[in-house]
C-alpha cells in the first residue's frame, strides 16, 4: 500500500499511546483490539521508536494484518486491520 493509500484509509479507531514507553503501546493496542470488529482498521499513535518494530511483530503473531506506517514529526502512525 502506498503512503497516499494509507493516508486515505477509513480508520475505525485511533489509539493514542504517545508518551508511554515499552511495553505501554503494546498494552494499549492489546486492550483496544477488543473494541473493533474483524476487518476494521486501527490507527496507533506512538512516540516510542521500538513500537515501529513491535506492532508489526505483534500483528504477525496475533494474525492481524499490518498495513503500514506514516511518520510524523514527533511520533509515528501505525495502521492495522483486525483479523
Amino acid at each position: 500500500m502506498t503512503q497516499e493509500e494509507v493516508k486515505a484509509l477509513n480508520v475505525n479507531l485511533i489509539v493514542d499511546a504517545r508518551g508511554t514507553a515499552c511495553p505501554g503501546p503494546l498494552l494499549a493496542v492489546k486492550k483496544a483490539i477488543g473494541d473493533i470488529e474483524s476487518g476494521e482498521i486501527m490507527e496507533v499513535l506512538s512516540s516510542d521508536e521500538g513500537t515501529k518494530h513491535d506492532i508489526p511483530r505483534w500483528c504477525d503473531k496475533m494474525e492481524h494484518e499490518f498495513i503500514g506506517i506514516l511518520e510524523e514529526d514527533s511520533y509515528t502512525r501505525l495502521f492495522l486491520k483486525k483479523a
Binding site: 514507553a21 503494546l26 498494552l27 503473531k61
Partner: protein, 181 residues
Amino acid sequence: MENEFEKQFLDLQKKVKRLEKGSKDQLTMVVFSGDLDKIIAAMIISVGAAAMDTKVKLFFTFWATAALRDKKKSVKGKNFMGKMFGMMLPKGTGKLKLSKMHMMGMGASMIKGLMKKNNVPSLEEMFKTAGELGVEINVCEMSMNLMGMKREEFIDYPNLNVCGVATFLADASESQSQLFI
C-alpha cells in the same frame, strides 16, 4: 501386517501428542535474582509476552522471593533465623538494590526517577498489570523455608502459588521459551 500398521500408528499418535505438548505458546521464567534491574527486566518481558497472548509462568526462587514481600504486612511466629533473614532481606519491590551502580541507594532512586521521566511504568504497576493479564507467579517453597518466609507476607497477587521444582520443570518442558534471570 495390519497389527504392525496399527502399532506404528499408535506410536506416531503418541509422538505427535508429545510434540504438541512440548510447544505450547508459553514462556516459563526462573526469576532468581533479587536485583531491582533484573526484576524490572523480568516483569517487562512478562507483561510484553502476556500482551502477545503468550501464557507466562514465573518461578520465583532464592533472592527474588524477597521482591514479593508486602511492606505493609508482617507475620508472627518466625524462628530466630527467619527473623534475621526477614530483617536483612529487602521488604518488597521498594527496597531492592541495583546490580550495578547502586551507590547506597542513589542509583536505585535515579533509575526510578528516570523510569518515571520516560513514562516507563513502575515495578509495582508492572506487577499489577501482570496480574491483570494472568501472568502466573509460582514461588519456590524451598527458598521460602530456607529464608523463613511465609505466604502471608507476600503481596496480594491474583495468581500466586507456592510450589516446588517439579512444577517449574513441568511448566518449562511444555513451553516454547524458557528464561533464567
